[in-house]
Amino acid sequence: MSTSTPLVPGHVDALLLAIVSRGPIHGYAIIERLRSSSDGVFDLPEGTVYPALYRLERLGLVQSQERSVDGRKRRVYSLTRTGRAALQERKRIWHRVAHGMSAVLGRT
């Protein structure tokens, strides 16, 4: 069951880039890894991940190619150099936002 923590598109992109940055990975495994890495907090509707990946690919942040995975031809995604820089930038922004949120919410 989806716990569906609300995410804005920018956050989805950052999460996908972070998962893909760990090495070539196919779409289904991306969703699984996102679910397990977030302890089930981010259980994205599965059909929303591929359009996001295609968009990131068109932006040149990820690239894809067919590879043999467990004896089957699968399309796997990996991060481009531009994608790695974009991920670093999004991490930096996120840390600032998180710091600011904690500072404000911690005082209430």
């Binding site: 779409g27 289904y28 599965e46 059909g47 359009p51 690919e57 040149g60 190619q65």
Partner: protein, 222 residues
């Protein structure tokens, strides 16, 4: 008794129907999604679901084919089909020009034949190159034809200007020749612009299996 259709097969069939006007996108998406649904069904089965229930749950987790298709970059369809239609029309125009040139132009107008020949070859090259780009021919073929067409455009452009200038000076009928070589030069300019357009990654954003793709507007050599 009619057997109920397999949920994944039915889902994929509906997605195929949704993407029927974009075979390029469909050829990539359908296989990738089918693999995904197969993995999801296997996971459901490992969790204890029956095979049929597992496949039903897998498509349920993915959402409807209609909403999935709606989220895909559908404008590719317009770009690709428009490019193919224009390229095909250009090839047809090239053939028409050659036929008209050989059968309709009177011998008194034979001086104009080289210009029409250049126009026909230009149209043919543009059409062929665009079709190869859109259909993602091998990198070597595209680059060879692009180099050939660029060289042809440069040489023929200079030749047309010289030829038309010569005819204008001999006959004194400048208007006709200015229009003639002006038209061909416009065709060349359009060819260059459309080649550049075709090389943009926005035109060809999806890597098709087994063919070279592009990253950031460059051919992917990996």
């Amino acid at each position: 008794v009619t057997e109920s259709p397999d949920p994944i097969d039915a889902w994929i069939a509906e997605l195929r129907r949704q993407l029927r006007y974009d075979p390029f996108l469909a050829s990539r998406v359908l296989k990738e999604v089918a693999d995904h649904l197969s993995d999801a069904a296997s996971a459901e089965q490992r969790a204890g679901a029956s095979p049929q229930d597992a496949r039903r749950r897998a498509v349920g987790r993915f959402g409807s084919p209609e909403s999935f298709a709606a989220g895909l970059p559908r404008y590719e369809l317009t770009l690709r089909l428009a490019s193919l239609v224009v390229a095909t029309a250009t090839i047809v125009a090239a053939v028409f020009i050659v036929v008209a040139m050989l059968r309709l132009v009177p011998s008194s107008e034979s001086a104009t034949l080289p210009v029409w020949l250049v126009a026909a070859v230009s149209f043919l090259m543009y059409g062929a190159l665009t079709r190869l780009c859109v259909l993602r021919a091998s990198q070597g073929v595209v680059e060879s034809l692009m180099a050939l067409s660029s060289a042809f455009a440069a040489v023929s452009g200079v030749a047309i200007v010289g030829h038309s200038g010569y005819l204008g000076r001999v006959t004194g009928d400048w208007d006709y020749y200015v229009i003639m070589f002006g038209g061909v030069l416009i065709a060349h300019a359009l060819t260059v612009l459309l080649h550049l357009y075709c090389l943009k990654d926005e035109c060809l954003p999806v890597n098709l299996p087994g063919r070279p793709g592009r990253q950031n507007g460059r051919l992917d050599r990996s």
